[in-house]
């Protein structure tokens, strides 16, 4: 769009509602009006595609008049309480009002008033008087996170951002709206009044909370992390953060955080602690068992099994992996590996045995984007209902531990349709019969498992849940 092209040429066109991360332009704030040669009316630069040989004026009197007018209109109802506003000093409205505004106000009439600031959620406060109604947060909720909780209520100059019946906005990605907000209307409960932009330093890093390692920026004051912001990386996080990454930093300086070893509740030195552990392990000997979690590194896992097998003589080591070695090896073939960005271009996506919302939240947003904007077809196969079920064309449920079975069945289906040996037919199709006949035992166990859980008549409709996630909740 024209705005981006201008930026490339070092010309800044002011914007409020335009944010490419949120999808297509909406042209609502009217801040980016520019003069395009050959078009009588001023055009919004955020929605005008660049053409060859196009002549655009961004600094004429006519454009300046329009920009002055829009800034003046935006400030008609804005309280201008910058000195006590958390956004002050890093506020696009401040910057744009200074850079493109008329510099003085002609408004003498009363502004609109709301109770403020109220909690939009336990983590986000909303000050509706500061809001300039740019729609960014609402668009995020509706079109990116798809939780559809934030709405613009009422109409015209009485519109305000809120949720249905003032329910708290509880959603796994809702912290992003704080960063999207171009004014101080949405502020973080964790950061409110903790620092001023001139007190802080930023330090780039990666989030360690989840395997996606989203790029983050720590806001640091007095050697303490005060805030976590996104550091856009198209290849990793698309510029979003999950709430775990955004608000989880508070544990770093939490008072009840365990920072030294304890035995029986009292602090001890490392030597004493290790001795206590060794003593108990020695006592248990071969009756010890270990479960190695998916977040352990290979080295850690290796060491655990070595302690168990060699030092304690126990054979009870396992990991949470459901797949056998052969399947794992097949799945990790180099030809099968894909980058996160490949999801954007995918025509169909199969999610097996995981709920990205919990294991790698940022992937959940990318999958939603692939379905919404890329038109990808999504199939979710898992033990439990997932957050993605609502957007999936097909959802398959199998009993805990049945992922390998499902994959073998799928391979059989892909390799030759119905013969597939013991895999049976129809696993990946939208079969409506629920007898489980001709299907793998994992499949059948899955049907039985969910029939029991949901109190259904046995075998009814296993595998035909098209867009009915509500049934599982």
């Amino acid at each position: 769009m024209l705005v981006d092209a201008a930026k490339g040429g070092d010309v800044e066109i002011p914007v409020f509602c335009y944010e490419p991360k949120l999808g297509g332009p909406v042209g609502a704030c009217r801040m980016c009006l520019v003069e395009v040669e050959g078009i009588p009316k001023l055009q919004t630069a955020c929605s005008t595609p660049v053409r060859d040989g196009m002549v655009v004026f961004t600094g004429t009197d006519r454009v300046a008049e329009a920009q002055n007018a829009v800034v003046e209109f935006l400030l008609v109802n804005h309280p201008l309480d910058c000195p006590v506003c958390d956004k002050g000093g890093e506020c696009p409205l401040q910057d744009i009002a200074m850079g493109w505004g008329p510099g003085k106000s002609r408004v003498t009439d009363p502004k609109r008033h709301f109770r403020k600031p109220v909690a939009l959620s336990p983590l986000v406060r909303i000050d509706r008087e500061r809001c300039i109604l740019c729609y960014r947060c609402v668009r995020f909720s509706q079109e990116v996170a798809e939780d559809e909780q934030l709405q613009l209520l009422e109409r015209g100059s009485q519109s305000y951002v809120g949720t249905f019946d003032d329910h708290p906005y509880i959603a796994p990605f809702h912290g992003n709206i704080i960063e999207l907000c171009p004014v101080g209307a949405l502020t973080s409960e964790a950061y409110r009044f903790r620092a001023r932009p001139w007190d802080i330093a930023h330090s780039g890093s990666s989030c360690t909370r989840r395997p996606s390692q989203c790029n983050v920026k720590f806001t640091v004051r007095d050697e303490r992390i005060q805030r976590v912001l996104a550091r856009d990386n198209e290849a990793v996080d698309n510029g979003w953060l999950c709430d775990k990454g955004r608000f989880g930093f508070q544990m770093i300086s939490a008072e009840d955080r365990v920072t030294a070893p304890k035995v029986g509740g009292s602090k001890v030195g490392w030597t004493a602690a290790l001795e206590a552990i060794a003593e108990r392990l020695r006592g248990a000997g071969e009756r010890t068992a270990a479960v190695v979690g998916g977040q352990s590194s290979n080295e850690e896992a290796y060491l655990v099994q070595r302690i168990l097998r060699q030092a304690l003589g126990s054979a009870h080591v396992t990991s949470t992996d459901e797949l056998d070695a052969g399947a794992l090896a097949a799945l990790s073939a180099p030809g099968l590996s894909a980058a996160l960005t490949d999801v954007d271009q995918a025509e169909s996506i199969l999610v097996i045995g995981t709920d990205p919302m919990h294991s790698m939240p940022i992937l959940d947003l990318r999958l939603r984007k692939a379905v919404r904007h890329g038109g990808a077809r999504l199939v979710v196969a898992s033990e439990r209902p997932t957050a993605l079920d609502g957007g999936a064309e097909e959802t398959l449920r199998y009993a805990p531990g049945g992922a390998g079975e499902l994959l073998r069945a799928l391979v059989g289906q892909l390799n030759g349709g119905s013969d597939g040996g013991r895999t049976g037919s129809g696993v990946a199709s939208s079969g409506t019969e629920g007898s489980g006949e001709g299907r793998g035992s994992g499949w059948r166990r899955g049907c039985e498992f969910w029939d029991r859980r949901l109190g259904r008549r046995p075998g009814v409709g296993c595998g035909k849940y098209r867009r009915v996630p509500g049934e599982y909740r």
């Binding site: 042209g27 609502a28 009217r30 209109f73 009363p110 600031p117 109220v118 109604l133 009422e154 015209g156």
Partner: protein
């Protein structure tokens, strides 16, 4: 007194039973539909509409045929939407056209669908017209029964389905793209243009959107030809126009006139002019969004082009007359309040501009303003015009700006002394429903 009326759409309008299929067919109805479906090609139809010079009767006055020709040819899913969300203050012509002669519209809709290759037609009717929507529903059912709609129209195997959709009563849904959003089940907010609905409209498909009166003309053009149609009206504004006349006149109502007759004839000869001893002080030539004209401009020919030259517009063809008992600042406030109340809030100049203007005009009518405030009002209107996402903001700014300019003396008098706020039916300033403001919010920890 109907001497200077020219009735095409209103022909037989008061015939008992015209809303029923039998009477409509007896009077020559659905001949055009049969001829169009059996004998004419879509391109011929579009060509003749373009040739006829028929201009949109909803407000913008864009050539109907040209709009139709913008739709891509081909087999994609296309739609025709009939805009029956008649909500402009002063406009009530579509109401009578649909109430008394629904089949004329249905026939026009089917012909338009054939012309652009659409299989679906939606009539988006404003929610408050529930009674008329029932009339339309009955007429649609009759038309299906008789094979004028459905899968085998006039025995040709061609298919057009028609749905009457009731809106929820927002003025903004009369804006064509907001209408599409509302029809899709979303909040009725205008969309960014381009893409225009002719390329990407309802459900992303090419869509032709026309007003009730525009579509009601089509059967007559098919029956009588483009040349015949052009024999009415002026060169740039052919045909007739149903004009709703309201306000300070003795016989308010709908009158179908040939475009080009002087406005004085409509207001005085047809609608009877103001009461005895009163004079026309100001008049809106095309609904409340048209800049007001004065008594001196009563002799303008009632066409799209002359009214545009005079700095106003024909719009939806609704004349509102204000006589010398009307306070123009109060009229301005009332007009501004309507648009403030109906602004959707999506774009800044309209949302804040209507709000600010209302507050300033309230001060004017309370007698708490200075001439400098009048300059600010005028300048704010300028700052709205042309900067908005759709034309709703302009619709307030244009008439208010015209009133402040043309009746500046009266504004100054009122600003200094306050106006008659006890006039009947007029809400005092401050009684505007500000329910969202200071609304107790149940969540939140408070300040």
């Amino acid at each position: 007194m109907s001497g200077s009326e020219t009735r095409l759409l209103f022909n037989h309008i008061d015939e008992p039973g015209l809303a029923g299929l039998e009477t409509y067919e007896r009077l020559g109805g659905y001949r055009a539909l049969k001829r169009a479906f059996r004998e004419l090609e879509p391109d011929e139809l579009i060509g003749s509409f373009e040739e006829s010079g028929l201009r949109g009767r909803g407000g913008a006055g864009f050539s109907m045929g040209k709009k139709g020709s913008f739709l891509p040819r081909g087999d994609m899913q296309k739609y025709v939407c009939c805009n029956a969300d008649e909500s402009e203050p002063g406009a009530f012509k579509d109401r009578e056209l649909m109430m008394k002669n629904p089949h004329q519209l249905i026939e026009g809709c089917a012909i338009a669908a054939l012309a652009v290759g659409a299989a679906y037609v939606f009539i988006f009717i404003r929610g408050e017209y529930w009674e008329i929507a029932d009339v339309l529903d009955r007429a649609v059912a009759e038309a299906y029964e008789a094979g004028h709609l459905g899968g085998d129209i006039a025995g040709t195997g061609k298919r057009v389905e028609l749905v009457v959709h009731r809106g929820a009563g927002a003025y903004i849904c009369g804006e064509e793209t907001a209408l599409l959003d509302a029809l899709e089940g979303k909040r009725g907010n205008p969309r960014l243009k381009p893409p225009f609905p002719a390329i990407q409209g309802l459900y992303g498909g090419p869509t032709l959107i026309n007003n009730v009166e525009t579509l009601s003309n089509l059967a007559h053009i098919v029956n009588n030809g483009a040349e015949w149609f052009k024999s009415f009206g002026s060169e740039q504004s052919p045909g007739t126009k149903v004009v709703s006349v309201s306000g300070c006149v003795q016989r308010p109502g709908n009158y179908e006139i040939e475009l080009g007759i002087p406005a004085r004839e409509i207001i005085f000869d047809l609608a009877g002019g103001p009461r005895e001893g009163r004079r026309v002080k100001a008049w809106f030539p095309g609904g409340s969004s048209a800049p007001v004209l004065t008594e001196a401009e009563l002799d303008l020919a009632y066409t799209f082009e002359t009214l545009a030259e005079a700095g106003s517009m024909l719009g939806s063809g609704s004349i509102i007359v204000a006589d010398d008992t009307v306070s123009i600042p109060e009229l301005a406030l009332r007009t501004a309040r309507f648009y403030h109340h109906e602004s959707c809030g999506k774009c800044t100049p309209c949302r804040e501009g209507t709000n600010w203007t209302v507050k300033m005009l309230e001060r004017v009518t309370r007698g708490e303003a200075t001439p400098m405030d009048l300059d600010i009002i005028a300048s704010v209107q300028e700052n709205i015009i042309g900067y908005c996402l759709c034309v709703l903001g302009d619709s307030m700014a244009m008439p208010v700006a015209a009133m402040v300019t043309k009746f500046r003396d009266e504004f100054e008098d009122v600003a200094a002394s306050g106006s008659r706020l006890d006039a009947p039916g007029f809400r005092r300033p401050g009684e505007l429903d500000d329910s969202a403001i200071d609304r107790p919010l149940t969540t939140g920890a408070g300040v």
